[in-house]
Amino acid sequence: MRILGLVIVILCGSILIYHTSDFPDWGHPASPASTHVSPYYIEKALDDTAVPNIVTAVLADYRGYDTMFETTVIFCAGIACFFLLRITRRMEPSVTLYRHLPTGITLRIEKGGKEPDDSNIFKRIDTQWVPYDLIINTTCRMVIPFIQLFALYVISHGHHSPGGGFQGGVILGASVILFAISTDLRTAISRMSERLGAFLSATGVFIYAGAGALCLVLGANFLDYSALAPVLNVNSVMARSHGILIVEIGVGLAVMAVMIWIYYNLSSAGRHDEGL
């Protein structure tokens, strides 16, 4: 099997490498990919949509239908992880560990034992080895607000600089995942619950599709944001710019929520009690 695989891979690779001689040279300005539709995007995007970042303009306006279903794909991935992994019935763990905070002693409580209830003195910890995490906790607590601020900047400034809904959403999700890693999964879920994650991911897709449907109601094509001009009280070019922002916010919400949701399900294998 190993030799057969190697033979197939070498055969495939050599056929592909042989045919690269038909490909355009690297960086050739007249390559087929850069000659047909892309000059139109580059020369007309600013006049059509008032968005200097052409990537954002193409992503959310010219190819908005494609991006809407990419967002739906991400939403479906979140749902698929949920249905594959989530264990909803409560499983009593055989052993729970508590740390006595003033002394640092770890209490091991077998099944059926009485659990301490003073949460200011006793803190539940994961059954895997948990080191003291003062430095990690403090660093993350200071860094996470700035990560989230930067994520909001990336989403809102996607018109003028590299960025947009996908990137900003991933950074926002990463900040919550960093919080879950630096403390533990239970604390993260108590701050940002699974229900909120599911709700926000659906809301993101709804904002995107809703913006498209609103254009339809106002008498234009689906996702033709220039129809929003009377609603937003701007001219039709700026309406397309604002429409892109609305859609990017929806994408950012959906991506953030799905990243967090997938992380919760994967790291605890669907039990949502102990994880990374």
Binding site: I17, W26, V73, A77, L85, L266
Partner: protein, 133 residues
């Protein structure tokens, strides 16, 4: 000699991506461990993403964000001054979708591990055959 050198310089990026794709394909076909197969799939996706991004390159052009995009005065925009934005758009969404597929693949791997207590392909096959008997 000079001709070979120009061929190498103008085509070596494609060879790199093909190498990455073939590494991924090999890992998906030959490796027995399911997590290694998933990593192979990710390497394959990375090869394709890099391939698309390198298609968009134009010599002497800058990133596809129009300078002097603000203000009232009009500047003439030449398509040759900016690299092709279309592959960047496609790959921007493909990266996030590849993360999502990675999540689903890992979820399936966890499900398999719960069922069979192993991620090795031949051991899973053996257990399935034993169950059928």
């Amino acid at each position: 000699m000079n001709e070979i050198l120009t061929t190498i310089i103008s085509k070596y990026n494609y060879w790199g991506f093909i190498l990455l794709m073939m590494i991924g394909l090999y890992a998906m076909m030959v490796k027995k461990n399911l997590v290694k197969k998933i990593i192979g799939m990710n390497i394959f996706q990375t090869g394709i993403i890099l391939f698309y991004v390198s298609i968009g390159v134009k010599k002497g052009a800058t990133i596809p964000i129009i300078s002097h995009g603000h203000g009232k005065e009009k500047h003439v925009i030449h398509a040759a001054e900016y690299i092709n934005p279309l592959p960047h758009v496609l790959m921007l969404t493909a990266i996030v979708v590849s993360v999502a597929t990675l999540g689903v693949a890992l979820a399936l791997a966890i499900k398999v591990y719960r069922e069979y207590d192993t991620l090795e392909e031949d051991e899973i096959n053996k257990k399935i055959r034993d169950q059928a008997k």
